[in-house]
Symmetry: D2
Subunit: 367 residues, 4 copies
Amino acid sequence: MSYNSYGHIYRTTTWGESHGPALGATVDGCPPGVPLTPEMIQVWLDKRKPGQNKNTTQRNEPDAVKILSGVFEGVTTGTSIQLMIENTDQRSKDYGDIAKTFRPGHADITYHQKYGLRDYRGGGRSSARETAARVASGGVAREALKHLNPGIEIKGYMVQMGDKKIDRSRFDWDTIDQNDFWCPDTEMAKEWEDYLTFLRKDDHNSVGAVIEVVARNVPAGIGAPVYAKLDTDLAAAMMSINAVKGVEIGEGMAAAALTGRDNADEIFFENGEVRYGSNHAGGILGGISTGQDIVVRFAVKPTSSILSPRKSIYIDGTPTEVITKGRHDPCVGIRAVPVGEAMAACVVLDHIMLDRAQTGGERGQIG
Amino acid sequence: MSYNSYGHIYRTTTWGESHGPALGATVDGCPPGVPLTPEMIQVWLDKRKPGQNKNTTQRNEPDAVKILSGVFEGVTTGTSIQLMIENTDQRSKDYGDIAKTFRPGHADITYHQKYGLRDYRGGGRSSARETAARVASGGVAREALKHLNPGIEIKGYMVQMGDKKIDRSRFDWDTIDQNDFWCPDTEMAKEWEDYLTFLRKDDHNSVGAVIEVVARNVPAGIGAPVYAKLDTDLAAAMMSINAVKGVEIGEGMAAAALTGRDNADEIFFENGEVRYGSNHAGGILGGISTGQDIVVRFAVKPTSSILSPRKSIYIDGTPTEVITKGRHDPCVGIRAVPVGEAMAACVVLDHIMLDRAQTGGERGQIG
Amino acid sequence: MSYNSYGHIYRTTTWGESHGPALGATVDGCPPGVPLTPEMIQVWLDKRKPGQNKNTTQRNEPDAVKILSGVFEGVTTGTSIQLMIENTDQRSKDYGDIAKTFRPGHADITYHQKYGLRDYRGGGRSSARETAARVASGGVAREALKHLNPGIEIKGYMVQMGDKKIDRSRFDWDTIDQNDFWCPDTEMAKEWEDYLTFLRKDDHNSVGAVIEVVARNVPAGIGAPVYAKLDTDLAAAMMSINAVKGVEIGEGMAAAALTGRDNADEIFFENGEVRYGSNHAGGILGGISTGQDIVVRFAVKPTSSILSPRKSIYIDGTPTEVITKGRHDPCVGIRAVPVGEAMAACVVLDHIMLDRAQTGGERGQIG
Amino acid sequence: MSYNSYGHIYRTTTWGESHGPALGATVDGCPPGVPLTPEMIQVWLDKRKPGQNKNTTQRNEPDAVKILSGVFEGVTTGTSIQLMIENTDQRSKDYGDIAKTFRPGHADITYHQKYGLRDYRGGGRSSARETAARVASGGVAREALKHLNPGIEIKGYMVQMGDKKIDRSRFDWDTIDQNDFWCPDTEMAKEWEDYLTFLRKDDHNSVGAVIEVVARNVPAGIGAPVYAKLDTDLAAAMMSINAVKGVEIGEGMAAAALTGRDNADEIFFENGEVRYGSNHAGGILGGISTGQDIVVRFAVKPTSSILSPRKSIYIDGTPTEVITKGRHDPCVGIRAVPVGEAMAACVVLDHIMLDRAQTGGERGQIG
């Protein structure tokens, strides 16, 4: 157990506050012999980096990762890897009011109640900047996966902003990286752009989103009962991301409305391989992968930091109104895409390693 | 880490298969001095017990719990508690076909692929019978909570069956225990009854459900960043229950459709206490409790065991059709209510203990 | 983390008190496909069983183990294994004084101070009966090792009783199982026998012992830095056994008196294999196995329950003298031999699994 | 579980290699509100620092610690603390031979066999430099202990070098900090000095040592059965330190030679407090503290890096002789003193927190 860690074997402990000198991830349990350079990690941090377009916060940080340990002559040594990201854009300012009030929707008040004090600069530890450390660890996990199971692919994208959902019939895998929203539906991407401009400029408001992450080519047999289930760990991984309020596997909440006949993923055997007629299960049965696409979705609430005034209190209990000025994403869901991908990569790697421990990676045969 | 355990400090390891001699929970970390008798646990097992009405499986088991350790002269000693439930209704029968085929929607195929073998009798370890062990541990957790924080109340109920959702305007806390569905909306309970009769008798089908669990009077300040978040552990707890495909905290997936202005839970201070204008957050901010009701929901997929034929294969790959005869719940969601409650009780207790470790239970003052 | 568990991947949680209805071990993480019957475990319990000769306690229990889960058709399924041993020789008696006083050298007083209460019947949870559960889990571990690494052999024996140490020049591996003391030196075994008779009959006293456990044919490369070291886990495993006060690897405490030149295990390469000129290291360098014999020793203090009066107090603080009548081993070290073996088996298996997780069991080549 | 971590609640993960850019400790679970500055930690690092006198390695590093997270306005926030020590004295040199041979007594060969590669610069991860990170974490633990239990004192000292043991009748607590060896016996300190000069200058050799660490004023009731025992965790903590081969609690290995009558620590009640007639137990019964001094000892083997040639092999198996030039301590035991203290501080804090989780720190009364 530890408060700021995740993973069983491939285990990440994150550290650092929004406005401290640095933040990072201590990664334990990585397999040895994995080729790893800062550039391989940086590409994912760049994807998450703020200030890339007008739809995300204008905080401007390079988020350059340094590897301080665990890599020698370009490959991992099997010992703990320290990934550090220095904070460079800590604008000095007067935190007077933020220090004494609680921003609605933020963890200001709960941190205060729990710890009796808090680092109020930019949310301190509860800032979404912490997710940069996860993305860094996810970058390592991706390289380790490439080393152990070259075919596995992990990809995230946004499927809903506010009440505007993508049209699955227009789903195009290739357009995901070609718009500001990691949106697989080009038409919807345009609609979102207009909507976000309105929210930001006119409405002084923000909006939530749903992100979907797919892990392809994960072999069947990964996962475990009863609490180290693959879906349990994916749910925990996603729910642990800032602002996430719901997690779904496969059909998710919609499974409630299905009947057993409709929900059954029928099983076939073709060309020496198991095939399924559908994937309502999202690639997981009994906590163990089926070999189909693993599909996980999560909902991100709207950014709590908005320019519209909300009622709150000072630490002494007197009432006030809070308007959060500053550089905030009107839709944090956008930048949650690479975070969700990173968490999925960490979980999948962790479970492949867990499985090796118990079964040696051997599989029961069919056919 | 262990595959079949959950909890950081209050830690439950479950064991046992559907048709083995017994199943149970090994509970470690329970506080000492908690009054505990088998009867206190039995009441919750009875709530989950099969065969109570025509809407649940007709398997008939007393599910009588025995306390084999950790209790002396009526109170817990602080050492590990063994809770055993003997299986008494293991009808001997010919498992021939079940042993060689994979039931669609079940973990038969993934267990086979992972372990190279499986206890095929009634689903073995992947059977929902395993949840009886969780309910037993939850019963202990409830008594420990009563001992440590007497005001805390944990209650679950069904809010949706198939596409039929309760009408929140008719929500009546008092009716929950008065119908077969733990439904807070009497009118909807009647509708569900008819629907279930149709599914069972005429349609040979099953249906999914959504369960909501509320934890009241949990003090503010329970939980922790970044991965021992209260919502992370609740999400993991619920997702680890058999057949669960989605988990929500507060607004859940619907948070995606909200704007920041609407989603903000405004903060007030009245009569020396913090109050909120709403509870979109479901009682958790930054992974830490606000003191409001903690609200978690989860979706249970329709029972995979149905009387309608579904396509599948034999272990050797040849095609077949599977019809699952036997004593199966047409809506497993009903019996998932006490399981969800039990998991919530375990998580809340665990986090109260975790919090004591770090802060001694002291709280930052407001006002 | 949990209070009553050990092991990272192959994880044992023990439960039960000396005079409760039963005790046992919940074993999680065992590899699937390991042939396992109660008889395979029973042989080790029989080795530890009380009442076998006049040198050990005359408590008479069959210590028959039942496998309640995790095994199907004679092989492990990969799910949690419940091993239960029913207590059958719980003589009912008046515990009046034992309930109110603290036996010197026992955990009576510390349990009382920690938990505010204790199961005083026969020491309750702190009784050495708890080690039966470890021996049961060790029996499973031995079968799993046989399945994964057939050549590994784990053997314990006594090397010292009181101040009487074996003569290493008379060491005979074959005599270990042929005397009541698992002593590899037949002459010393006779001396111990006389000494123990004197202690028991005339001196009303007890004595300590040193046990050595050797694990042979463990491949090089098992273990890990920095805290999951093989020697760290062996030290913890042995120190966790009741009454153990010291643990040594290889030269142990005597390493302090050596010089670097003498202590160096020189390295050779012969017939395609690494060889060492000596084994001062006890088979472990940097927490990782060298492939040589792994040698661990531990000291067991003299039995605290003796017929000679010792000063103590009542719970209310008033002074008293305690004489512990009953069925106690004059040298608990004897029965600690199978316990030490069991712990070593658990640790070695656990580390082989841990190693598979990270490296897949692949080894760096030499030569 | 994680490979490079220790502690249940107060959990330290260390990272970094001897000749990498930096090393450090990621500390999770520290209580909030603990006053903490780099200076408070630096004092302990200075104690361990190389190059302080001619008896320790002449490597010259400031070992200056930076706190990168978890502290705000001079107090801990309850979130993860990153402690970084930059490596400044990484003399560039030709590692040619070291890269291709295995130094006897070092982990070169086992790391190679396990991971297939190793950071050969100065021992890489297996270097004793890693212990600087533990000392840093121990410094934090000391401040946390001061905050939670002000009376607790933790002190280490050397009691044996080679075969030269201190005379306990000359034991003087006050002289410990007044000689180069943390020796409580001034006369012996002089003898050691001469001996070490001989080893270094004339004999080109090294020697082992025994260190004792005492924790005073730890309240009774800290610790737990069966595997989270206080002595179990102390044994693991000490055995995990580089070059340690044996660990003892109280009488340690010598307990084997005692009889039950002699070993019994008789119990008294004086002036409203429990007193003991002796402390053979080393302050721990049944894994739980008695309130007496907690006494742990460990043996450190002689430095493996010596100027005398030892036989070894190249990676390709061809024979060679290794002479380890460079800046090495002739008796690493000296600098192991602050490391042992640090580990003891971490374990004691961890167990006080663990105890709070389960019992809330309440104690069973006596008298």
